[in-house]
């Protein structure tokens, strides 16, 4: 279309030769809607072939023009290209108005309640589309793991939870497509229930400063966003197919988008993943296959000053849990830990037997925005989520095929946000949130509820203002208030109720007493305040300093409050505390960033002081008819986490680049002394890449990943009597595994299929040396080695 316009313009402008040609056309290019100057607009004068770009004030000046009519084309990355006819008569001055709204419309539609920058005074780590595509066969946790300061808490290799600066689970807030994920994230073996292939880019904010999303992100916020859809007529899509040797399976994901120049658009997307048992270097990891099926649909209308969008996604994942991890009490633990190979190794199979997880997550979202001249953009969003988690154990008799855990969590959220701009320098974001949540634990499992039935109501209100002091300084401040009410029905064992003295402390919450259980009705009110305060300073063009203080408050999660019984996959008894209060975190983060063509880095030190931090730790060994079990109790303490994340790159030539990442975090219990459990060990990644756009966009990368041994850990080992050896033996549940080094390789090439489509072929190898290793942050590390070598073939077809 653009080309036709240009050709017509060219034909129209046949230059006349016999005139004095030393006139200048000068002027400005301005945004039609808000009158701001447009920098970088390209002005092409037909016939003279002059190309001029506007400066930062939108100004331009075109010399050597004759006294005649010229055809001019003006384009800007985010505007519709337009053609003009200008009559030159001596020195001429002219102002052009462009419709600068393509980008802005999409920003509104996409981000809903925020601007493109999620937090102005905290360094944001981002994963781009290319990077995400590398992990299309993996999980969100795998992709995030490639960022500095992020590790993952694994249960095997398919349940991967992100750890941000040493913290995880309820302390990590995940915003998927504008919706806060409510997917039973309190559990350490509950991975985020979303398809990574729905995300076009992922932003990570380490800390709670993005208070427009939540006030309880003590670890940080992860934001996944879908692709931007431009207001123009087009139909495009992509299909990614990958096959792996380890797991002997593949992933297929496909997406198709249709958009119209009247603003309507629609996208359908789907993913299928099927893997059999994965393999460690020396043996099959029996029952570790997965079967994941996802689909999503997005339809919307995108106009300059209003828009509406509907989104629905379906996620279903069946995950096998390593058979060798299914054990009884401490006597079995001794056997499993002391054995150098897993206790159960079967032949490779695609079948997913028990124990396994079967999770379904439905998410529906409706949002709309409207722009008002005088006070800004108003965004309204309603979303509904239903998370259904089934966990199957190895059971006996009639119960063999009955899940041990059957939870349905339904969440309704209503958000109303307002983005206003008082002047060029001051912006204000405000909003309110109302949420209703209902958890139902199906009693037909025949197993006492791990998480009780509850209803939860949340109301939140926030305001954030940012102020551009001058070209170098930007300041930001925000505050948020959240009120949470919980209404819970919980059955306690009478023996536990009395042992804990709850019968004297909380007699008023007893509803009914049964033979050996007591039904109680705890009700909670939490009033939480959170906030952020920070500044950004830019200097020497390339350098930026971010400084931020954030205050976060987190309501204890249901597992911390109500756990009371055997946690089978950890083979330990876990006990919560009815009286817990909110965790309060004060985090200070500082970042120095340099962005250069040849050399660049970011260094991000932080300190996070958390009052009433909820930790779980062993207290005693409980004797049962099934043997001995270690008892782990939650308690509140004051914790401190501190560390630094470093990213650096250096370009030797245009083609060769070196990248380094380094993360260090230390966590301490400041009340009782000693290190915190499950802190990520120091790790560093070095990568050499070669890229040559001339040879089919060839990309080669060799990566070295070194993970040190965690030397600071609490010693929770204990001894148990073993009848067969007639002696006490040590149950070593604490000692971290040794350091390890992995080598990975990545390559890809692009091929043009036809005018509109291209094919990218990639070959990756992970763990090239087939190194046997165990990862401190993998809860199945006691039972088996981690993954062995994997060859992965990737085909990406863009059309």
């Amino acid at each position: 279309m653009r080309i036709y316009a240009l050709m017509v313009l060219l034909l129209l402008s046949i230059p006349s030769l016999s005139q004095s040609c030393n006139n200048t056309l000068s002027g400005k290019v301005i945004d039609l809607h808000d009158g701001t100057a447009l920098e970088g607009a390209m002005i092409i004068v037909a016939a003279t072939e002059q190309v001029i770009t506007t400066d930062s004030y939108g100004r331009f000046s075109i010399p050597n023009l004759c006294n005649q009519t010229y055809a001019i084309q003006i384009s800007h990355p985010y505007c519709l290209t337009d053609g003009y006819k200008v009559k030159i008569n001596g020195a001429t001055d002219k102002t052009f108005y462009l419709e600068h709204h393509l980008e802005e419309l999409n920003e509104v539609i996409l981000n809903g309640k925020s601007q493109n920058q999620k937090s102005n005074t905290v360094f944001e780590n981002k994963l781009s589309k290319d990077k995400i595509e590398q992990f299309s066969n993996g999980s969100l946790g795998d992709a995030l793991n490639s960022l500095s300061g992020v590790s993952s808490l694994n249960t095997g290799n398919t349940v991967v939870k992100p750890i941000i600066n040493g913290l995880h689970s309820s302390r990590v807030v995940l915003i998927n497509n504008g919706v806060r994920m409510e997917d039973q994230e309190w559990g350490v073996e509950h991975a985020p229930n979303l398809d990574i292939n729905t995300a076009e880019n992922i932003t990570l904010i380490k800390g709670a400063s993005a208070i427009q999303y939540s006030g309880d992100a003590i670890a940080g916020v992860i934001i996944t966003e879908p692709e931007k859809i431009f207001v123009k007529d087009s139909l495009y899509g992509k299909t990614l197919v990958s096959g792996s040797t380890n797991g002997r399976g593949s992933t297929v994901t496909s997406k198709l988008t249709k958009s119209y120049d009247n603003g309507w658009f629609g996208t359908v997307q789907g993913t299928l993943k099927r893997y059999g048992d994965f393999e460690a270097p020396d043996y099959v990891l029996s029952n570790t296959g997965t079967f994941e099926r996802n689909a999503s649909l997005r339809v919307g209308l995108n106009r300059f000053n209003y828009g509406i969008e509907g989104y629905y996604s379906f996620y279903k994942n069946e995950i096998g849990i390593l058979l060798a991890s299914h054990i009884g009490g401490a006597e079995d633990q001794v056997r499993a830990i002391n054995s150098s190979i897993p206790l159960v190794i079967n032949d490779f199979t695609y079948e997913i037997a028990y124990p396994k997880q079967d999770i379904t997550h439905n998410l529906a979202r409706l949002k709309a925005f409207k722009k008002f001249e005088d006070f800004g953009k108003v965004n309204l969003q309603y979303d509904f989520q239903q998370n259904h988690r089934l966990e199957y154990d190895i059971r006996v008799g009639d119960d063999s095929d009955t899940p041990s855990l059957d939870l349905v969590l339904k969440t309704h959220t209503l958000l109303l946000d307002l983005d206003s701009k008082f002047s060029d320098k001051t912006t204000l974001k405000t909003g309110i949130m109302a949420r209703y949540q209902d958890n139902f634990a199906d009693p037909s499992t025949g197993v006492r509820r791990l998480i009780p039935d509850y209803e939860k109501y949340d109301i939140g209100i926030y305001g954030i203002t940012s102020f551009q002091l001058n070209d170098n300084w930007l300041a930001e401040a925000g505050a948020r208030f959240d009120y949470t009410y919980m209404d819970v029905y919980k059955f306690y064992r009478t023996s536990f109720w009395e042992e804990r003295n709850y019968d004297e402390l909380f007699p008023e919450i007893v509803v009914e007493e049964y033979d050996n259980q007591i039904l109680t009705n705890p009700q909670y009110n939490f009033y939480n305040v959170s906030g952020t305060l920070g500044t950004t300073y830019t200097f020497d063009n390339d350098y930026k300093i971010f400084f931020n203080y954030s205050l976060a408050s987190r309501v204890p999660n249901p597992s911390e409050l109500f756990s009371e019984g055997l946690h089978h996959s950890a083979s330990r008894i876990e006990l919560g505390g009815l009286q817990f209060t909110s965790e309060i975190a004060h985090k200070i983060s500082l970042t120095l960033e340099k962005n250069g063509d040849v050399f660049g880095f970011s260094a991000q030190p932080f300190i996070n002081n958390i009052n009433d931090f909820i930790v779980i730790e062993p207290t005693e060994v409980e004797q049962t008819i099934r043997g001995n079990f270690q008892v782990w109790e939650y308690r509140q303490t004051n914790a401190q986490l501190l560390g630094i994340d470093v990213d650096a790159y250096y370009a030797f030539t245009n083609n060769f680049k070196f990248k380094n990442q380094f993360s260090l975090v230390k966590g301490y219990d400041r009340s009782e002394g000693g290190p915190l459990i499950s802190m990520p060990p120091v790790n560093t990644t070095n990568e050499i890449t070669y890229e040559n756009p001339k040879v089919n966009n060839l990309k080669l990368a060799l990566q070295s990943e070194f993970v040190f041994r965690q030397n600071e850990y609490p010693n929770n080992n204990f001894e148990v009597y073993i009848a067969e050896s007639e002696s006490y033996e040590l149950v070593d549940v604490s000692t971290p595994p040794d350091a390890y080094h992995l080598l990975n390789f990545r390559s890809s090439m692009d091929f043009k299929v036809n005018q509109k489509s291209n094919l990218t072929v990639g070959l990756n190898v992970t763990n090239i040396l087939n190194t046997s290793y165990r990862n401190y942050l993998n809860s199945l590390r006691y039972y088996a080695d981690d993954l062995g070598r994997n060859f992965l073939l990737n085909l990406k077809f863009n059309y």
């Binding site: 008799g397 039904l519 049962t624």
Partner: protein, 184 residues
């Protein structure tokens, strides 16, 4: 503007409806179905000495109360006993007999008897699964010379079958009970 009004109204209405639909019924109690609270080993002698029972009872399962272990009396030296193991779930009323389930899935279960070195007692399996591998809810026990020590009963779920004993059996421990006994 009108669409937005309608939209917001419908959203508010749906939330109101959703909130109202939640009922205030108290949840149903769950009595654990497959929990084993009680193991009783009855040893019937082939002579006229006393029947001996060994019992472990843990009514709150993995709750805070320890199991109650009782041994009715000493074994009599030189006597052979027929042993029968009964597993009960006494959280249900009437108590559910779990032994039946174990015997139905005999190929997935096996009892092991570990005798401490000081105790002069020997055991032999008396019942087997369909493949002829031991199950062990029934067994024979022979008390030898006067001595004392412990007998440990271990029930493994999904052990490797056949096996050479508990050391290479694998599987998950469903029952583990140790009794101090003496031969007099």
């Amino acid at each position: 503007m009108k669409t937005i009004k309608i939209l917001s109204l419908s959203v508010l209405a749906s939330i109101a409806l959703a909130s109202c639909s939640s009922d205030d019924d108290t949840p149903e109690i769950v009595n654990e179905e497959e929990v084993i609270t009680t193991m009783t080993v009855t040893l019937t002698p082939d002579d006229d000495s006393d029947v001996i029972t060994l019992q472990t009872r843990d009514l709150d399962g993995d709750g805070s109360d320890d199991p109650v272990i009782t041994v009715s009396g000493p074994l009599s030296a030189g006597t052979a006993y027929d042993g029968v193991i009964v597993l009960l779930n006494e959280t249900e009323d009437p108590a559910e007999d779990i032994t039946e389930e174990v015997e139905e899935e005999s190929d997935e279960h096996q009892f092991f008897y570990t005798i401490s070195s000081g105790l002069d007692v020997t055991t032999e399996y008396a019942n087997f699964d369909e493949d002829g591998n031991p199950l062990g809810t029934e067994f024979t026990l022979t008390a030898g010379e006067v001595s004392s020590g412990t007998i440990t009963f271990t029930l493994r779920h999904e052990p490797t079958k056949p096996n050479d004993g508990i050391d290479d059996a694998g599987g998950e421990t469903d029952i583990l009970a140790t009794y101090s006994v003496s031969v007099e």
